[in-house]
Amino acid sequence: MIPTQNLNLLPRNKRLAQAAALGLVLALGVGLSAAQAETPAEKGLAIAKEMDRRDLGFQDSRTTLTMTLTNRHGESSTRKLRTTTLEVSDTSVGDKSLTVFNHPRDIKGTAFLSFTKILDPDDQWLYLPAIKRVKRISSANKSGPFVGSEFAYEDLVSFEVGKYTYKWLKNEACGDLKCFVVERTPKYENSGYTKQIVWVDQAEYRVQKVDFYDRKESLLKTLVQSKYKQYLGKYWRPLLMKIENLQTGKATTLQFSEFEFRIGLKEGDFTSSKLKRIR
């Protein structure tokens, strides 16, 4: 029985983000000619930083979700979980998150606590309610499947600008929207991917689609994020995420309930010793 991480594919890293904001203002001020002088790497990074900047200041959030796993024969099983996320003000590390399973019933009450890092391995603890045991677990397993799904751990942790190098490829239409197409390459160890191609809409900088390329550089999975909803007049969250494994025919969808923001969570709510009183 193994757990989730952040379930929040959006960015945050404040110092970089502020720099990005400044960069963007300058770019706008100087005009299009200056922007055109950017290299593809600079442009890709600028897009990532802008994505990050737009998610700053959400403080904390809470949601519940249903995960549906489908195999190539169309047989499916579900998981139900709730997750809380805390935005960490220290810019050298990522967010903290707590996930609690409610279904299937044999893993009901199992809780997973994760402190995301930028390049170092995350800190992770698992709580097993039947035996009241809190276990610190290894987080070296970035590319392993999360609870048997097509999502790997690394697909679900909070997005941090510093985790990747970037290259802008082109602009193209994505559905009714116009998208930037950016290639990003994981900088952290033990990634299962050689690269990811990300479609980000130009209007709101939301991830619309991601193609994941495996270690042999062949297309492994495609993630589509949809049903975006805006909260607090600022923060966008997809209420539907669907990932398909093109090599196995398996798929996993995440359907989110409404998100709640700024519910008053603190760092002290995300400690391994408090896992014992979670349910």
Binding site: I2, D106, K132, R136, I137, S138, A140, N141, G144, K266
Partner: protein
């Protein structure tokens, strides 16, 4: 069916909890809570391929039983107040003592920002190692349930936890002692002599009513998780005293008053987990020390699959003398492997062997679990031992290697 023996302090505790609740703050309206029901029913079949060891012991190879563990939870005030009630009952065809009931949990929890209080019957686990739970001491082992020592009886307690930036401090007042359960004389997995649990004796003049105390401080610094604990009270492990009852040689359990100081450490570095538990205990004759220490290394996505293979090795040392409760692992090595398929059924297999370095005694255990559907789970356990000494308490189970099949329905 054996009934769980609870003592007056436990009942007093429940009463105190109820009164505290009744007098709770007005804004915490108990009528506006949420009720949750869950739990499971498990059917079990134990298969004993070996011959019985004692005259009068059951000859059956197949030993079925059924157990239920419903869970009732009522929560209010945004989850900061919670009542939990988890009774347990088993009916075993061949072991009268294993046909028993207990209240695993019946408590009130109040969770504040930086502290929480639990009053009632509860369960607490301490420890990090896999092959032995050396430091874990709050709850009595429900030894008829399984010989792995992981099933526990509900312990009357008031538990206070204070959560700070420098770790968490837990303080425990434990009024009322729960006696260890033992297999019936006519059942498998019994001691080498019949155990007369009802005649148990105590060091303390208060007998089972001694109020035990415990404290534990736990903290995480970077990659290191650690805890220091102390327990003062009635030993959960009994010594056994030979006696004659009704013309038969029997064992009478005796519970000493002890002081145990424990240490738990885990260092997490990449795919390596370094673990150690250590304790020193006085009260069974001379003070002694014991440790369980080792490592777990995980190979991820073996052979291009989604499966992970964890390799485990631990060394077990126990320096206790003859006047202390018998222990199976005094100078042993544990090696094991955990295969986690990471499939939708959460299939997991843990296999291990504990090898006594001097006696060459070996105990092999295999546990496998697989989810059959949203509500059903199947489990298989195998215990096999060799070179078990002919004398001592554990000799009673030397022919009792078994395979256990369990189908559990969750609701």
């Amino acid at each position: 069916m054996n009934s769980a023996r609870f003592h007056k302090p436990a009942l007093c505790l429940a009463l105190v909890a109820a009164l505290t609740l009744a007098a709770g703050p007005a804004d915490a309206d108990i009528s506006k809570g949420t009720f949750d029901f869950a739990g499971s029913v498990a059917t079990e079949l134990r298969i004993f391929p070996g011959e019985r060891s004692y005259e009068g012991q059951d000859r059956s190879t197949l030993s079925p039983s059924i157990a239920a563990t419903p869970e009732f939870v009522y929560e209010w005030d945004g989850g900061s107040n919670r009542l939990t009630f988890i009774p347990f009952a088993r009916i075993d065809v061949h072991d009268e003592n294993r046909s028993h009931w207990d209240i695993r949990e019946a408590h009130w929890l109040h969770a504040a920002d930086n502290w929480d209080l639990t009053a009632g019957l509860g369960k607490v686990f301490w420890g990090v190692t896999e092959s032995r739970h050396l430091v874990d001491i709050i709850n009595q082992t429900d030894a008829v349930e399984n010989i792995d020592g992981e099933d526990k009886l509900g312990q009357p307690m008031v538990q206070f936890n204070w959560h700070t930036d420098n770790g968490s401090l837990g303080l425990f007042v434990l009024p009322g002692f729960r006696e260890r359960t033992f297999a019936d004389d006519e059942a498998r997995l019994r001691g080498s002599k019949p155990v007369r649990g009802a005649d148990a004796t105590y060091d303390s003049s208060a007998d089972a009513k001694h109020i035990d105390l415990a404290a534990r401080w736990s903290h995480t610094i970077d990659n290191l998780d650690f805890a220091i604990s102390h327990f003062h009270g009635t030993s959960r492990e009994p010594t056994v005293v030979e006696a004659v009852r009704d013309g038969k040689d029997v064992f009478i359990p005796h519970y000493d008053q002890i002081d145990q100081t424990g240490l738990e450490l885990q260092l997490t570095t990449g795919a390596w987990l370094w673990k150690m538990e250590a304790m020193t205990r006085s009260g069974h004759g001379n003070r002694f020390a014991a440790t369980a220490a080792g490592l777990e290394y995980t190979l991820y996505q073996i052979a291009d699959s989604a499966a992970d293979l964890g390799l485990l090795a631990e060394y077990l040392y126990d320096g206790r003398g003859a006047s202390a409760p018998a222990v199976a692992s005094n100078n042993d090595v544990f090696v094991g492997a955990r295969l986690v398929l990471n499939d939708t059924a959460d299939t997991e297999i843990l296999a291990g062997a504990i090898i006594d370095r001097l006696a060459q005694e070996i105990v092999i255990s295999i546990e496998a679990a697989h989810r059959l559907s949203d509500h059903w789970k199947a489990e298989v356990e195998v215990r096999w031992s060799a070179n078990v000494p002919d004398s001592g308490f554990f000799a009673g189970a030397k022919n009792d290697d078994f395979v256990l099949l369990r189908a559990e329905r969750f609701f």
